[in-house]
Symmetry: C2
Subunit: 248 residues, 2 copies
């Protein structure tokens, strides 16, 4: 079974200026990981045509899927649909089905030229409906184009994941310890040396209750994962408190 | 005055799996924007040597500065320092000054091989001290290498910004409205057509109190920014409530 991979392109000056804090990357990454689609790269790019087109064309060749967020509203700074059309070298025009979706929410008298822009869809694309704002995203080839507003993006993502080929789920197991990273690193390196199918990550934490390391094991085979987790627990229990979480 | 640009590379499987939600991108972006350094691109990449090296070598040529977060701890999955050395084609070895910094926090008897790894620094790099954990980051050429733990990263960033050449600050002004984006898009497009020095962005919001659009104007000249903001306020006041925020 081949790996199913994905990359995310977050489009928007407001993220790069820090004015808006992105909430979409973590949400998409978590959901795709759950269904066995491995997010391999994320890029945040400005509202600049050339950069958006180049990034799209590079990533859509490299990964199974590309998901974009942002830049599909009615205003002049929403460039994504046109950039996608240019990247795929196809025409873009008003899509009747998209107009119908807009009319479910917007009275005909309010459907001005700016709002009609939200129905401009690259030729050959399939719409992605959304229950929140009605204005659709779209899919063309392996690229899924979504809104930037988190609630709208999340509604679109629910539609998208049903269209995706999903891979073998990567299971993970957290092991929480109150041991300093520097005291477990040798042990973890040795255990990692014994397995090629389970990857072991270590993430230090500092909080009001003290510090320690959270170890995360990931793998496609649950039995191997359990075995490595129990070796880690066994080896670390001599130096501190170790708690194995459930396998997710 | 030339533009000072930056890109951020977030290194870590845990961000791409969604297990850890990144808190560094927004923090760095906001702080750099304040001092006139324009963040032009962000990439999140996995703990994979080839990907880290290629990304570093591409971005350090493209932007004034590159800042990385993550992958400089004592464990086997911390690859950043070695990748940076390879990207710059320099040797890497234990740095005496870095060992001294570690000893400010770590008793000599606890300074095992894993912890000593945190003192491995590419040749030619300058250390970045941090008051939180003492383990240093480093700067080589135009690349700044920081920890991934937010509190540690923030301490390092305070040191880094003093070493950066800063650009002309980009001022911004928020204009909050209770008008739907689709009703202001034509007006904003027309106003944007009249200025090349102020960029106008529109960000729809939906919350419990209703919906509307938050307009953000950005520019280097405060007078031009004020002038555009007041034109927007004037033109939109006919259709809804409009409130100009302070210029930041």
């Amino acid at each position: 079974m081949t790996d199913i991979t994905a990359s995310i392109i977050v489009i928007g000056d407001e993220i790069l200026s820090g004015r808006t804090k992105d909430k979409n990357i973590g949400y998409i990454a978590e959901l795709l990981t759950k269904i066995g689609v491995n997010v391999m790269e994320v890029r945040v790019v400005p509202d600049k045509e050339e950069k958006i087109i180049n990034t799209l064309n590079q990533l859509r060749k490299e990964y199974t899927y590309v998901l974009t967020t942002g830049g599909i509203g009615p205003t002049h700074d929403a460039l994504t649909a046109d950039c996608v059309a240019k990247a795929f070298n196809v025409e873009i025009s008003e899509n009747n089905e998209a107009i119908k979706m807009l009319l479910e929410r917007i009275p005909l008298k309010d459907l001005n030229d700016s709002r009609r822009r939200m129905a401009r869809i690259p030729h050959g694309a399939k719409l992605i409906e959304n229950s929140v704002s009605k204005a659709p995203g779209f899919q063309i080839g392996n690229v899924f184009v979504m809104a930037g507003v988190p609630t709208v993006m999340q509604a679109m993502l629910d539609v998208i994941i049903k269209r995706m080929e999903t891979g073998q789920k990567l299971f993970s197991c957290n092991i929480l310890t109150d041991i300093k990273e520097g005291d477990i690193a040798d042990i973890l390196r040795s255990i990692q040396g014994r397995t090629e199918t389970v990857s072991i990550g270590s993430y230090p934490y500092y909080n009001d209750n003290g510090y320690g390391a959270n170890i995360v094991c990931r793998g496609k085979n649950i039995d191997e994962l359990k075995s490595i987790a129990s070796i880690i627990k066994n080896d670390l229990s001599e130096i501190g408190n170790v708690e194995i979480g459930e396998i997710l």
